[in-house]
Subunit: 735 residues, 2 copies
């Protein structure tokens, strides 16, 4: 009996299950039990997804076993040799550990043991990484501490999987010189402890590594610090992160791109907690918010599972990534929610774990599965009171198509947030119709600023004019200062998705993006022959301003129902700063008195934005790419509706998918918009009323109280001699 | 026995099988026999492709039966109501006819009979179509005669399928007032006979309709005129069309986009001929050129079956279109070539015909199928002496990838031809790396010039600068006069694809595109770690010229290994005419003395063009879209290498795919070109020698005799004191 055993025995009753003696009998304690490993082994043929997934892991492990183990002294930046080698090492450790448990072949365990002994030789003596950056927490193996945490999350799982096969002497060495040393560095050193106690996804990776190490080493102190923060005062740590980083609806304020990344440590550590301290009921914590977090991030995707690219987001990421394979498997295991199975089926792989076993079994027994994407109103902020997002979704006439509008009135999302208050996006299945640029970055491409965020991420992608919203006086929201923006958020006025076939509606207000200007946007998706968007954007100010309603559309211009002057022989930019300097002015349109229409083709559908305009409205067709000396920007297309010198103004637009274009059958239908008229019937401090008339004489009249009102409040309005009365915030009259 | 029967009996022995009496017993005579129809019926469940395909046809027929039959008096242009209605009618006739034969249910036959009787009421009295155009042959049902021919090809098949179910009296009416009347109009009227006797795809539709009508009506005269021309002198007609319109390699001079369309009447009529006059051995005619025509058009596609968009071509067309479903099914039935089965499998439908039955059976019995795309050297011209195309194909390191280069030195292709002499295209699977704009047209989109070819098709798409070739003095080849260009074609000097893993090479000369300028391009795909293209473009002239080597690449600029001055605040066009007016000048580069490199990213691969340059070379980055007031053009990207004031000049370039970009795994490899040096060792009237050196010190030295030489000729060259000797046109030395 060594010191550790004595210590384990000394733990409270709660932790007796973690003691050395129990370990020796029961095998791994984290994500895969001995029994589950045996079950996986016996089902490799009949659970196809598991067979495939384990096959891949075993091949990686087999390849690793053929090569010489190498634990280089860390020297390189991200993408460099030692960086990539240590990443590869933790993957190989983990895969070999899994291969050992499932096959029982000791060679895999021996490999893990050997590599960990190599790490034990060098790790304690390593200084801070030579390529560390001032603004970023340093690691020892990697330039930033985050990667060291990711190493630990994988490394400790690998050790957990093979520990039973390691002699007591070597265990002592490995635990002391690798895991305790690393955990201490990441949680207690000057370099690590700030991150460890941060309410931030980097902190989640840190506590996950520490906490899982605690379970494997039977160290209650480590576990407690992971759960409750360094001071164990519950002001930081994992539970606090769960409370603070997600809204009650499971939204993560940085947006789905970062939520994807953060979910892995959240779900993996929760799984380890649940297996070791089931009494904590971690999966029920805060109203099952982890379930909601998984569900919400999966719903925040287009029809192919690509995340809506709000804030700094790369468009190439979808829910097939490894992070979300862990998340969906663990969510399915613990919540038994069959709604998630179609995603697991699309992911087309499972984790080799207890959760993966259960998921693979369920998929094997399920038939063809479609993941249902629902309309949702998602609150942001730890209290659910910091604005949010609305997802409107309706099928079009073509049953395979789903029209999705994203209306964003969420909080800033910290340094990765964009100045896109009250912005919208529009998708038809996976086609971006009104798009968000996402982040300006070519991840890891050395020729593009070393693969980091490009300068144009700040000068274009984060600016308001890069989004489908209103820009006042050509200045971005909050003057582009994210710290100022972080303090304020839009407010939801009302929303209703209770009759999703007929109407989905949200109205939100932003009071602080521009001093003295109140912005209110009301967006409705209305069920018609083909569903359309009614978009009402009101600006109120005591002073006169220029208001630009911008649409970054995706597709090819088909026609305009207004005259314009094209720039055929010289192009100049739209402005000098705040993103305007990046837009070439392709044409300036002369707006109609009445409605001005702009039609484009995207894939097999036509889309028209019809906007109420007068003779003073200016229209612009733009293209991204000016002031781009390094060719960093994609050359996307914009359409802008501008009014100048106004105090109060309301933009009323209809965004309408219509017709079809089938080059295979050479058939084209309805290439022209069917909107005949748009009128603003009323607009004052209390009420807004608009009417859309289609060419078939159908009209839709939307009336609403601007501010939130109780559901039972009766509203009365008299317009053009006609009296309207309704209960609740809004009504729509179709005739 | 009516008049027709008497006439039938009066035919020669050859045509006895076509007589009324035989018809009554044997059912349809064209593409589907009674026996085949019965076999289809009994295999609807087990031949999945047939079940699916027939299901679709029956649903269309069922839907048609529910509606009132309507045969409107023709009045509308393409896309208009009567136009679309008559198109719909022939489809419904055909589908109902098929449904009748396969199910035996008379309601389908009755529908066909009724609709044809409606046509019989109006057709004979119809005048020429009111919307006919001067330059185009007029129809009666449609604005152009071509569509009437297509109606007849479908209508006569429908009648053939149900004729057995129609009373003698109604047959007389239908045959006289629909089919004879229409056939006479299309083959004998002033409006029709020119097209009927044209060696052109419109003529093929005409003779196919006439000839098939002849078989069904038992009219030898009609059949003979279809086969041998109006005068039956074999100077025109179907056989002459087969001789003239295809090269011996089965290439159709208008290019694959039009070849796709032309193949339907060729194959359908050939099938009808073979079933009625097997002694003509039509499928063996001219060395089985119809087999080659099908094979060649299928090979002229990217990895997803999209046709290389040379000449006026829309990029949306692939080999899944209906025309090619007929073609592949009939080709498989008659040539038994299993190589074609993967295409039928990808088409995922079959025709309901004897050919379709055989194809569906074969697919049902086959395993997983991959269509093999080969390197090919395809001769153009009826004699195979009018230049041609080379297709180079090699797998890359990633085994699922095939790099394909298309080198075009074919004839003009008549009025739809582009001025792209010695142009190249480059594909990686279905990704366009160096692209052809194709046609400037939004087919059938009324808002875009009524769906016809746009003005920009002439001002941009057909111009030389829209292609990857050399433009002399900013003037298009043949000054953009297709009739002048039609008289001349490039000449193949040599080509070799006999060792496809190592090297695929072609050299061709164009002597007439510019008076006094000889153009020779030699293109080689060379097997290396990743295959690369070596591109040598030589210009020779007694007078000084400006030479522009243009590349219309597809993707995002990653880096350049030369300095450039970007146009950040004003864009101006590259020129005033010949397509240059449509290109914005984004940047002007200062070429290196040595090699200038230009790198872009397309999907998951980097590509670099490295060109030998000197201090006087100018480099331009361009974007399409200037002088485009109606936003008709796509905004594609160009890179141009320019030398001015030269008599003889040789551009030597390496086009090199390299590295990878995997946003899912966040990994990037080899983003930089590996070309270290390019040198032109020798260039005179007789010989060319170039050397490429890579960063790993590997060198490739290509030496060739410029003009075609006999395979046994020995060539000797002394360069830098070193002696080279080789047999045949060229040699490559790798070190």
């Amino acid at each position: 009996m060594n010191l550790k055993t004595i210590k384990a025995i000394g733990l409270t009753a709660l932790f007796v299950v973690l003691s050395e003696g129990v370990f020796a009998q029961s095998g791994p304690v984290l994500l895969l039990s001995k029994k589950e490993a045996a079950a996986i082994n016996s089902h490799l043929k009949d659970y196809k997804l598991m067979g495939k997934s384990f096959g891949k892991i075993k091949r990686t492990a087999d390849k690793a076993l053929e090569k010489k183990i190498e634990v280089p002294i860390p020297s390189d930046n991200g993408g460099g040799y030692t960086h990539e080698k240590h990443k590869q090492n933790y993957r190989e450790l983990y895969n070999a550990g899994l291969a050992y448990q499932v096959t029982g072949e000791r060679k895999y365990a021996d490999f893990v043991e050997k590599m960990l002994l190599e790490y034990a030789k060098v790790y304690p003596g390593l200084p801070l990484h030579p390529m560390r950056k001032q603004e970023q927490n340093s690691g020892k193996l990697f330039w930033q501490g985050l990667n060291d945490c990711v190493w630990l999350v994988h490394g400790i799982q690998a050790y957990d999987l093979v520990r039973e096969n390691i002699s007591a002497g070597n265990r002592t060495i490995i635990e002391r010189d690798v895991f305790r040393s690393m955990a201490a560095f990441l949680s207690e050193s000057d370099s690590g402890k700030d991150t460890f106690n941060k309410i931030h996804n980097h902190g989640t990776w840190a506590v996950a590594g520490e906490g899982m190490t605690g379970y494997v080493l039977g160290d209650k102190d480590m576990v407690d610090r992971a759960l409750y923060g360094s001071a164990k005062d519950k002001k930081t740590g994992f539970l606090k992160q769960i409370e603070q980083l997600f809204s009650p609806d499971g939204y993560y304020s940085e947006g789905p791109y970062y939520q994807r990344y953060a979910l892995q440590p959240f779900m993996v550590f929760a799984e380890a907690i649940n297996r070791n301290q089931p009494e904590l009921k971690i999966f029920d914590y805060r109203g099952q918010v982890l379930k909601k977090a998984v569900n919400t991030v999966l719903q925040l995707t287009d029809s192919k599972g690509y995340f809506f690219p709000i804030n700094d987001a790369l468009k190439e990421k979808n829910f097939m990534t490894e992070e979300l394979v862990f998340a969906t498997n663990i969510a399915y295991e613990n919540y038994n929610d069959p709604a998630i199975l179609p995603v697991i089926s699309q992911q087309n792989e499972v984790t080799v774990s207890g959760a993966g076993l259960k998921a693979a079994e369920a998929i094997q027994q399920a038939g063809k599965l479609d993941y249902i994407k629902n309309p949702m109103v998602i609150a942001d902020g730890p209290e659910g009171k910091s604005g949010g997002l609305s997802l409107f979704r309706m099928p079009t006439k073509n049953k395979d198509e789903q029209l999705t509008a994203v209306f964003k009135y969420a909080s800033q999302g910290m340094g990765h947030g964009h100045f896109d208050r009250l912005g919208i996006l529009l998708y038809n299945n996976d086609k971006e119709i009104l798009q968000d640029y996402g982040a300006a970055r070519f991840l890891n491409v050395e020729s593009k600023s070393g693969g980091r965020y490009l300068d144009e991420n700040k000068t274009w992608a984060q600016q308001s004019v890069a989004h489908n919203t209103v820009i006042v006086d050509e200045e971005s929201h909050y003057k582009g200062d994210w710290k100022a923006a972080e303090k304020q958020n839009p407010e939801l006025q009302f929303s209703d998705i209770s009759n999703p076939e007929t109407l989905q509606i949200t109205s939100a207000v932003e009071r602080n993006a521009y001093p003295g200007v109140l912005m209110q946007r009301t967006v409705a998706m209305i069920g018609a022959e083909t569903p359309f968007i009614l978009d009402i954007f009101t600006l109120r100010s005591d002073k006169a301003h220029q208001y630009d309603l911008n649409f970054m559309y995706s597709g090819h211009i088909m026609e305009t129902a207004f005259k314009y002057d094209p720039a055929v022989a010289t192009l100049t930019p739209m402005g000098k700063t705040n993103g305007y300097e990046h837009l070439w002015k392709l044409a300036e349109g002369r707006a109609n008195v009445g409605v001005s229409k702009f039609t484009w083709l995207n894939d097999s559908r036509f889309y028209t934005i019809s906007t109420m305009t007068d003779a003073n409205t200016k229209l612009f067709m733009t293209r991204l790419g000016a002031a781009d000396p390094n060719f960093n920007l994609r050359n996307e297309s914009g359409y802008m509706v501008r009014v100048g010198d106004r105090k109060d103004y309301t933009f009323v637009s209809v965004i309408e998918p219509h017709g079809s274009f089938d080059p295979k059958l050479e058939s084209v239908q309805d290439p022209h918009s069917k909107v005949a008229n748009i009128s603003l019937l009323q607009q004052d401090a209390s009420y807004t009323a608009v009417r859309v008339t289609f060419t078939n004489k159908e009209t839709y009249t939307l009336l609403f109280a601007n501010a939130a009102t109780a559901p039972n409040t009766t509203h009365k309005l008299s317009i053009e001699g006609k009296k309207y009365e309704w209960k609740g915030n809004y009504t729509v009259i179709k005739k």
